[in-house]
Subunit: 716 residues, 2 copies
């Protein structure tokens, strides 16, 4: 009944009610409506399947029930063989799952992922055409579980849900810093929780060759420091992903980014060797020689082997950032370009891609690559992944190629969730034709690993990636940033409960950073401090720490700070609320003063105590000084707002100069609150102009005097 009703509203083109009731579900379902009452969740909860058995859904259910037990402390009944008990018949069960088809054992692009979930006070019903939808529905159901003083429950609700885009990915670079199996598996669990369905593994790079070749074992033997996935491990990982409805797309980056390949086979490079594994970051020269037949012999064998190993029809060959240095310097290669009328290096790259395409086609694989593969002659059906920007998407789809957006989803660059969230693969205002829009498959968050280790990678990936997952799943109109942040905080806990360590890594890391001399109070102060810090954004870290190599420990102040500081965001929102209004809210002013006082006490304690005696915290001293400056100016500005005694223009100028210095990053970390303090200082100094201006003009005036934020960009 409810299905008809809601499918009806889809069919009638009625506006989608994206957030028709308050809930914490992320991504927001396409259609959700609150019902009356709630389904109590107790130890008597049982589940039954309607229709034929479906092992993947059964496994997903087992995992889901275990997670509910872990979260709630409830224990659901089991039989003596350890299986959860079902109700005797569907009508008796708390949850009934009906899944019409088994779907593909290995998920495929474009499979039906829709589901319908109806929760009444007596029963929850989950219906899906396909295994993938049933698994998504279970994740939604789990996110609906909540509690109050009366116990655990699921609110009555009707949900009809389906994804906006079929390709919703997370790319993990396991090369720059090796990321072992356990990291990938827990991230797969996190992906499933927010309905991401593509794990893109970046498996070869200048800094490491991370997959076992049985035909050319010297590749991983000499190119990986022993850190690579065996084929057996990879098969296990692919199974693990498939059990969670996730495709695995492997990337072997050629012809550039190839140093680790030519450690074993220097003769395949475009310049004489020998080569050693690259230990530093940046675009490097080594590139395969497309004029050398041996290159194709090796790739024919290797890619064939990988085509057998990875079941997904898409195989990613990278293709990015060949700087041309080795090709330009090699007369034989330049002669080849002339002899074959290839024009230039770009032509040679296209020639190379053509040869690779032929190899892949033989193995039934479609070619995928970064923007740079988009040359005349790119085979039809190839997928272009755009790291360069919306223009890349437009260019690819204009030529009829399916495209996946990664520009704007570079989570390694430490921008805010907000920035990623508002970045749309096919925004309404983009000048794309309908045909082009159909070719936009979705997007991928990319976690390049120059600056992350297995210890810290989760903290740079989550929870922000959940905001990207919502962008790729939910209707385009779901763009309420405060509501996104509210739900992001909740889903962050669910992700932690599923095994991710984006918060849990911090407590031990701070103890290590603080050293043996730190008291509990010291540690609490350090926590307050790192909570207002952020790691520097974009590629600033490489400029801050140019001497870092693959071996440098990544567990300092920058690594203990996290992107998109919630404490700073909260402070900033409160500052904006205060300075925006015509009438000063004394209560809000007092709360700001309290926050600044607490910060001041932590800053004092660290500056004069722990940081003065601990060698690891020496790097914190400049930032602690900046923090103190910001706190002082913040307090003065609030006092000025309270009393109405504005600072003189000279005093303001001097404060802004101090803040300019305080905004400088140190040790690859920075204080995002400086911007709010700047706005507070300006607002206090020009407070007398407020009444003469309407709200908009006042904000414009403030923005003029404080400067606007720079837009996010990315590369890889």
């Amino acid at each position: 009944m409810y299905r008809t009703l809601f499918l009806g509203s889809f069919l009638l083109g009625l506006p989608v009610v994206a957030n028709a009731f308050d809930n914490d579900v992320m991504p927001v379902p396409a259609l959700a409506q609150r019902g009356q009452g709630r389904l109590a969740l107790t130890g008597d909860f049982t589940v039954a399947f309607k229709g034929t058995g479906n092992p993947r859904v059964k496994h997903a259910l087992d995992r889901a029930l275990l997670r509910v037990e872990q979260r709630t402390g409830l224990t659901f009944a089991r039989s003596s063989d350890g299986e959860y008990l079902a109700g005797r018949k569907p009508g008796d069960s708390s949850l009934v799952i009906e899944c019409e088809s088994l779907g593909n054992d290995i998920p495929a692009l474009g499979e039906d992922e829709s589901y319908a979930l109806a929760v009444s006070p007596t029963q929850a019903k989950l219906h899906a055409a396909n295994t993938l939808g049933a698994m998504h529905g279970l994740e939604t159901l789990l996110q609906l579980v909540q509690s109050d003083a009366d116990g655990w429950f699921i609110p009555a609700v009707s949900i009809e849900d389906r994804p906006r885009f079929p390709w919703r990915g997370l790319m993990i670079d396991v090369c720059r810093h090796w990321q072992p199996m356990e990291v990938i598996k827990r991230n797969l669990d996190g992906m499933a929780l927010v309905k991401l369905n593509v794990l893109h593994l970046h498996l070869t790079e200048d800094q490491g060759f991370r997959i076992e070749s049985k035909l050319f074992p010297r590749l991983q033997q000499l190119g990986s420091d022993g850190h690579f996935f065996t084929q057996e491990e990879m098969r296990d990982l692919i199974r693990y992903a498939a059990e969670r409805g996730i495709r695995v797309v492997p990337e072997f980056d050629i012809p550039g980014h190839a140093t680790s390949w030519v450690v074993a086979y220097p003769e395949l490079a475009s310049a004489p060797g020998p080569y050693v594994i690259e230990r530093k970051w940046g675009v490097k020269d080594p590139v395969l020689d497309p004029t050398n037949p041996q290159v194709y012999d090796l790739l024919e064998g290797f890619l064939g082997e990988m085509a057998d190993l990875f079941p997904d029809p898409y195989l990613h060959i990278g293709g990015d950032e060949n700087n041309g240095v080795q090709w330009n310097a090699n007369p034989r290669i330049q002669a080849f370009i002339r002899e074959h009328s290839l024009g230039d290096n770009a032509g040679l790259h296209t020639y190379f891609n053509g040869k690779i395409h032929a190899i892949l086609a033989k193995h039934g694989k479609k070619l995928t690559g970064w923007d740079e593969i988009l040359h005349a002659g790119l085979p039809a059906g190839s997928v272009v992944q755009s790291w360069r920007g919306p223009d890349g998407i437009a260019a690819a789809t204009r030529q009829g190629f399916p495209a996946v957006l990664s520009n704007g989803y570079y989570i390694d660059l430490c921008y805010t969730a907000r920035a990623h969230y508002l970045n749309d693969p096919a925004p309404e205002d983009a000048t794309l034709t309908d045909d082009q829009r159909k070719l936009v498959l979705g997007g991928e968050a990319t976690m390049w690993s120059e600056w992350v280790t297995p210890e810290t990678i989760d903290s740079r990936t989550w929870p922000r990636t959940a905001a990207i997952a919502e962008r790729l799943w939910s209707p385009a109109g779901v763009r309420d940033v405060p509501d996104m942040y509210r739900r992001l905080a909740v889903v962050s806990r669910r992700l932690e409960e599923a095994g991710l360590r984006h918060e849990g890594y911090l407590d031990p890391a701070l103890r290590r950073l603080a050293g043996d001399g730190a008291s509990g109070t010291d540690l609490a102060a350090l926590r307050v401090f790192v909570d207002v810090l952020e790691p520097v954004k974009h590629y600033e870290r490489g400029r801050q720490q140019p001497d870092h190599t693959q071996f440098t420990p990544l567990n300092g102040l920058a690594d203990c700070s996290r992107p998109d500081s919630a404490a700073s965001r909260d402070f900033s929102e409160r500052v904006e609320a205060v300075i925006r209004e015509n009438n000063i809210d004394e209560g809000e002013l007092n709360r700001l003063v309290e926050t600044l006082a607490a910060w001041n006490s932590s800053a004092d304690r660290l500056t004069n105590g722990l940081a003065a005696k601990s060698p690891r915290l020496e790097e914190a001293l400049p930032l602690l000084r900046s923090w103190s400056v910001a706190i002082r100016i913040g307090r003065d500005s609030i006092e000025s707002l309270r009393t109405g005694k504005a600072a003189s223009p000279e005093a303001l100028k001097s404060e802004l100069a101090e803040l300019e210095l305080a905004a400088l990053p140190h040790a690859a970390a920075e204080l995002p609150i400086i911007n709010s303090i700047r706005r507070l200082a300006v607002a206090a100094a020009i407070r007398d102009q407020r009444r003469a201006l309407d709200d908009e003009a006042w904000l414009r005036r403030l923005n003029e005097l404080t400067g606007a934020e720079k837009p996010a960009t990315s590369r890889h």
Copy 2:
């Protein structure tokens, strides 16, 4: 030079200077003397080997340097192939390692584990006869690394070290709750850090059969819920352990504790089946039938297979806690006992052990078992592991059997580190002959897993096991409990840095327990609360939570509390200091008041806020009430001490009655501070008697009125 000097003092029988300088090393070295100055530790630190290469020491060094880098943030120089750089010649290097012999690839009982470490301001020299000693020396060196405002350094020191006992073990039960590879590996890292050298794996139990048999795969297929070690994984684990100088002794518990065996083979049990895996705790009936030839057919094959898999010469066959129910009830078995003149069930057990011994002997293995194997006819060379107590050690060694003590080292029972620390396998006052003393091989901490999961097991194992490690390694005279606790807090951080999660698990666990409604302040209050709680001791948890099965989540209040609460110990010490003295120390009184005020604020916040609305914290309410009672009486008693106005005998009586109730455990947790509050109340009430008594008489009087603690006992 220094070696001669210190070996000399050994040889001359001079008293061992166990703690000749302040340091944090645990276990305390046999002999250590502080030198002049310090060796600076910077990024220029290099290491050289003297003599032939030794791969295991090289690997241990690589791991050690990585740990130093992670802790200090320093980066040591590496060559382009990723290897740490050595100084050009030994004289140039910061550390020179000389290891005379490779030792056994698989560590053997009684191998030379000694080492000498000499650190001067210019160089550290590590000398060992054998690989094991070199690895121990590296661990000591790492523990010597410290910092002050001038940076990182190693103090100049001369150390001559060797273990008191050759068998220093940790037993992990992977059956009651499955503990996967990653848990075992990180615990091996922790063991190596504190110089433990035997991992005893309890691999079969009523609740699970956790090792792959290739001959009888139904054993693990039907008996494990899919949770078992494959033989390949076990070989990898044995290698991992050997690389850290640790033997792996497997235990297959027979003939009792055998439910999981007879799920696949009910015909081997002493009563008719069918059987299912046991899901609850306690001593169960199922026992193999020693009169059935098929039992020996299976064991012949299975133990032969295990003898091939596990290289250690000792193979543990359990042998404990056969309750006799099935044997008594089976007329055929009782007839067999009569026909073979075996006397009784004990005789049948001996008969069984004889048959098993013959199987093991054929495979070159020595039999090891719990106390119960000690019957007439036990083959010479068998090792008896005593869970019953010092009498077990005395009985075994009197009959010429080597013995290992586990009684008093049952870390799963949540007693204090102090209790374990003072428990000696061969105490000076024991009535053991010299020959008997030589047969005491050492001891083993035992982590039975009824009440631990992979998430919590570290928090029940560490850091207390480090105190046991010290008992087994350091000279018998090292028994300074406050110094042990001081160093235990430091080594706990080192263990965390090595990958153990005994502290790190808590932060996420508290977030889950607190639920989505908890603020940062709520979480801080909850942290204060669980820090003063302890899980109930001995076998009380089974009484508190009799309905728990293998499937019940273990992440409630009891699991977030940790044994040997440091906050409670600190409070207790401060209370004792105050009440002991003739003159009240006002400053100390004030500090106690501050602590009680902070506790009160947390208790209030939780009682009236979080715990009232969160279903998971309902179980905390009785304990929160008890805490509040204790805080109130503590405050009143301090006020009484301060003013000299003693409570009336009736008022005291009423307070003690309240405390009696408050001391009751709830939700498998309890408040160890109640005892201190009780002593505080009594001391305040009878304060007028203090001046009339000397210190000893006063303490005796207090003890009389407050009751003594009960001694620790154990079983398994």
